[in-house]
């Protein structure tokens, strides 16, 4: 359950922060992340339709990736009225920032279980997070192949 070995270092730190929180503190932390989600960079504004969609989330979620100096940078578009999903997106964007495509691909798809969010969110909401991870991996694979 507490295995964070092998996660990119910033993501491992985030997971540890969540592990140290109890109950509603986990939600408070997730809310802080949802508020930290950066806006789309100018080149993607208004182009959400061309970004990768995450259809598994009921909320319209789009993600795009770019490679900066060998590291991945992910950009997310998530509506303001879905802070829970914004929170996941922000954790993934921040936790995977500058990770190599190989590191992204080797991410266990259920790493979020180690954060203990299942205590405060229903399992099916967490599945949305697994879906975001799956789409992020797809973009990493595309980056490696391009």
């Amino acid at each position: 359950m507490n295995d964070i070995a092998g996660l990119p270092s910033r993501l491992a730190e985030i997971v540890e922060d969540f592990q140290l929180c109890e109950g509603s503190e986990k939600l408070e932390l997730l809310l802080q992340y949802s508020e930290s989600l950066p806006p789309l960079p100018d080149y993607l504004k208004g182009k959400e339709a061309q970004m990768e969609k995450v259809p598994e989330c009921m909320t319209p979620v789009s993600v795009s990736a770019e490679l900066q100096k060998g590291g991945m940078v992910f950009h997310f578009a998530v509506p303001e009225e879905s802070p829970t999903v914004r929170g996941y997106a922000a954790i993934i964007a921040e936790g995977l920032r500058n990770a190599t495509p190989e590191q992204v691909l080797s991410l266990p798809s259920d790493f979020y279980l180690t954060m203990g969010l299942q205590q405060v969110l229903t399992n099916q909401r967490l599945i949305g997070m697994a879906a975001v991870v799956a789409h992020v991996k797809r973009l990493a694979l595309e980056t490696m192949n391009s």
Partner: protein
């Protein structure tokens, strides 16, 4: 606007809420699908209930018990005489679920804010982040009102008597193409389809999408009566876990005034897992 509803007193408009939100005998309760939305801003004075962490028993598959419900109301500063106004995101989906549960435990004065969060924010009304604290009350719940809740035995009895069942899920879930709600994977069942004989009237058809308010009485009447649902029928509504069907339950019981409507909260996640339960997959009614 509310003309023609059977019990318009169960709805309040945003204008009314804006004027009455400070009244001591009125308590606003936000109930959302999104677990964090309340924390990002809510109506002044509103408290939060969360359908998963507040209203569900943490161990058994059931709602909180009567004693736990009394404790919850006490903590939220709700007294037996308090008028509770529910509102929430996604067309008041979980606001109706909370309304149903509070009806189950017999709270007498319950309302839904028509349009929910969507209309309130569209109108540019104030949202704040301060979480109010109210003095604890002494609250006495009534015994559960079984007349609004269907168990699986009631559904079997409904089938034997050939009385109507309304499946309020999406057409794909009803037909069995999907084992779960679109975009909510793994909240599903072993089998896809619907309860034999159930007709499909998706819950969100009762809503005006542009502002999240309920459709007019005549539109609602047409929606349900054209599907052979008559007011004097005993009706059972179900969905996947009983939340979307509590929305339809509210519409039929209070807006159209059908006297005997029950919500089968076991819903598809019970029926679709139940050994031997009769299921259909065809989409034609």
């Amino acid at each position: 606007m509310n003309e023609g509803y059977a019990h318009p007193e169960y709805l309040v408009e945003t204008d009314w809420v804006a004027v009455h939100l400070n009244m001591p005998d009125v308590r606003l309760v936000e109930s959302d699908e999104d677990a964090l939305l309340y924390e990002t801003g809510h109506i002044l004075g509103a408290v939060k209930v969360d359908w998963f962490t507040t209203l569900q028993d943490p161990l058994r598959r059931d709602f909180i018990s009567k004693a736990e419900f009394e404790k919850l109301c006490s903590q939220l500063g709700i007294a037996n005489r308090t008028t509770i106004i529910f509102y929430g995101d996604k067309n008041n989906w979980f606001a109706c679920y909370a309304f149903w549960l509070f009806t189950y435990y017999g709270h007498p004065r319950l309302r839904i804010m028509n349009g929910g969060r969507q209309k309130w924010t569209q109108e540019g009304r104030q949202m704040i982040r301060d979480i109010p604290i109210y003095a604890a009350t002494e609250y006495h719940a009534k015994n559960p009102n079984r007349k609004i809740r269907a168990f699986r035995e009631d559904v079997f009895r409904q089938l034997t008597r050939r009385l109507p069942l309304i499946d309020v899920r999406s057409p794909g879930e009803y037909s069995g193409e999907l084992l779960h709600m679109p975009n909510y994977p793994q909240e599903g069942a072993m089998r896809g389809g619907h309860i034999v004989g159930a007709i499909n009237i998706p819950w969100s058809q009762a809503i005006n999408p542009e502002n999240g308010t309920f459709k007019s009485a005549s539109e609602l009447r047409q929606l349900y009566q054209s599907q052979v649902i008559q007011p004097d029928n005993k009706i059972i509504a179900y969905c996947r876990i009983g939340e979307r069907s509590s929305h339809t339950w509210f519409v039929l019981k209070y807006l159209l005034g059908y006297p005997d409507v029950r919500n089968y909260d076991g819903s598809w996640t019970e029926w679709g897992n139940l050994v031997g339960a009769p299921i259909e997959k065809e989409t034609n009614k």
